[in-house]
């Protein structure tokens, strides 16, 4: 914590984003939701949600064997999943995480596919193609629902759908210890700003002047690594799972048969590490703190 020797100077310093303790963030969220519920009994209009299109609602993570991955991540993060067999592969969908993770053992799928909410799938397909992206498969419905999968104009996979049609599943029985924290996208930032700006209205403003990282929407960020390194960097997306504290989670990864990565301090307010599960699936861990309190 900084000392406040010159309060006026302190007030004027730029904002340095820093994530609070997850427990505090969750408690404050609950309190605010309670406060908002109180307002619903009167006629006062509450703030209209904006930017619903383009919010992260699911992440596909390709694995070698979805059943085995379901066990691994179930033990590691207390994930509860629903098993869904398809014609040529199996998927496990988490049912107790804020953002759903689909563990799919489809070898033809990209390693990570961020899924975004849209209100009108058919219109989104047109917007993707108009912005230079591609649609490889889709099932748009006349009322605006359905889904579509493709890539952006740099080749990064994406999937859009209108939530609400998914069938019901058994209620979860426990809270997970790992949540979707960040889909970390590596691609050209100005091009991403143009593409996703036209598609979802993302601003993708750098965190501070000169930064090559920009938050898109909650749990999605774009890093222009090529601009930093001066060398070509393949377009990619990595799924980072947020945990309460990094070091205990890394120990747990190794304990259940995965490979724990080195601690990285370069990801803004977070400490992070890139790990693999017991089948070689790459995933990241991030936390606002290194050690448990």
């Amino acid at each position: 914590m900084a000392d406040r020797r010159d309060p006026f100077e302190a007030l004027a310093r730029p904002v340095a984003p820093f994530a609070p303790r997850p427990a505090f963030a969750a408690a404050l969220r609950r309190r605010l939701l309670e406060e908002l519920d109180m307002t619903s009994t009167d006629d006062t209009p509450t703030a209209t949600p904006t930017g619903e299109d383009g919010q992260l609602v699911m992440v596909h993570l390709r694995v070698a064997d979805a059943d085995r991955a379901g066990v691994f991540f179930g033990v590691l993060f207390s994930w509860e999943t629903e098993r869904v067999p398809f014609d040529d592969h199996v998927s496990h969908y988490t049912v107790n995480t804020d953002v759903t993770v689909r563990l799919r053992d489809d070898p033809g799928a990209p390693p990570v596919i961020p899924n975004y909410r849209v209100g009108d799938v058919a219109a989104t397909i047109r917007a993707v193609e108009a912005a230079g992206g591609t649609i490889s498969a889709s099932d748009p419905e006349p009322d605006g629902g359905g889904w579509a999968q493709g890539t952006d104009d740099q080749g990064l996979p994406l999937l859009v759908y209108r939530p609400g049609r998914y069938h019901e599943h058994a209620p979860p029985s426990r809270r997970p210890t790992g949540q979707v924290g960040l889909v970390f996208v590596r691609e050209d930032l100005p091009r991403a700003r143009a593409f996703y700006g036209s598609l979802f209205g993302w601003a993708l403003q750098p965190e501070y002047p000169g930064s090559h990282y920009a938050n898109a929407v909650p749990r999605v960020g774009v890093f222009d690594e090529a601009a930093v390194s001066g060398e070509p960097v393949p377009v990619s997306a990595t799924l980072f799972l947020e945990v309460d504290a990094l070091e205990p989670a890394l120990a747990r990864v190794a304990e259940v048969g995965g490979v724990a990565g080195e601690v990285d301090h370069t990801m803004g307010p977070y400490v992070s590490a890139v790990c693999t599960d017991d089948q070689g699936t790459v995933f990241g861990l991030l936390s606002s703190r290194l050690e448990a309190e």
Partner: protein
């Protein structure tokens, strides 16, 4: 709550960088967001933005410093001078 997710690291980061302890930063963060929710109830109020929330946080911080200053100097009318 999308704004909350986006603004929380900004508001908390602003306060944590300027407070002496994380408990104070958390208290002021709570005060900031609760003030925003209550302000949003007023008819005709514009939806809050991250920049507006940081400005509210700045006011909360100044208020906190004033309270703290009064506690550290009970006789704030000049008693120390003489």
């Amino acid at each position: 709550m999308a704004l909350y997710d986006r603004a929380l690291p900004q508001v908390y980061g602003y306060l944590a960088d300027r407070c002496r302890d994380s408990a104070t930063a958390e208290d002021l963060t709570s005060e900031t967001f609760l003030a925003a929710v209550r302000a949003a109830k007023a008819p005709g109020t514009e939806p809050p933005s991250v920049a507006w929330l940081v400005a509210v946080a700045r006011h909360k911080l100044v208020d906190h410093w004033r309270r703290q200053s009064r506690q550290e100097r009970p006789d704030a009318t000049g008693g120390d001078d003489g």
